[in-house]
């Protein structure tokens, strides 16, 4: 089950929940906030979501990851609200018997999160202005 939460992503809990004795590989992807974008200084990011639809989209991605790849589990957690530089805005955790599937599944799931979840990111700059990040049109 995916989660949308305010505040830091509980990475250690996610890893503990992903660990299972029939798996030899866990891949954790963290998307973290960069402090520069196209030459401007980013002081923080603001995320918002259409929550019920985002949870459904992330849940669909979790399930589809399990169907497309030989993995035992896929969990996606996205942070909302303000995220300072170097902190994680999204975590994807995949556990799999073998590492190739874990890497491929994690990458695919992350691409899908960016493509298909109704979540938006605004960059806030050091001059007080802000800009929504150019994204992907939902289909």
């Amino acid at each position: 089950m995916p989660e949308l939460l305010a505040g830091p992503i509980p990475v250690e809990r996610l890893l503990a929940e992903a660990a299972r004795p029939e798996c030899g590989a866990v891949v954790l992807f963290l998307g973290t906030t960069r402090d520069r974008h196209e030459g401007r200084r980013v002081t923080r990011l603001h995320y918002e979501a259409y929550r019920p639809m985002a949870l459904e989209a992330l849940g669909r991605i979790e399930r589809e990851t399990g169907e497309r790849f030989a993995v035992a589990s896929c969990r996606i957690v996205h942070r909302l609200g303000e995220v300072p530089p170097a902190e994680a805005s999204v975590a994807v955790v995949v556990a799999a018997p073998h590492r190739d599937a874990a890497f491929e599944a994690s990458r695919w799931a992350m691409d899908e999160v960016k493509r298909a979840a109704p979540i938006w990111k605004k960059e806030l700059y050091d001059d007080g202005s802000g800009g929504w990040v150019e994204g992907a049109e939902l289909k």
Binding site: E48, Y50, A54, H78, K114, A116, I119, W132, E137, L138
Partner: protein
Amino acid sequence: MNVRILFFAQARERAGRANAELSLPEGSRLEDALAALARDYPALDPLWPHLAVAVDGRIARPGTQLAEGSELALLPPVSGG
């Protein structure tokens, strides 16, 4: 009938609000609601070509039939992650 409108991200900022109620004649379709919104919120004009619209949490086509209490969401291009 009344439907609920949700504005997100740029749509929220351009509309100046996060949500609204819209009264429509019985039998209205999504395209009728969008025409009303385009009239009421001219600041949304540059966004329309890029917006997806969901009805009750699913991306919907303009011909979609609305119902009392339908939830319409205006969804700019997404940028999660």
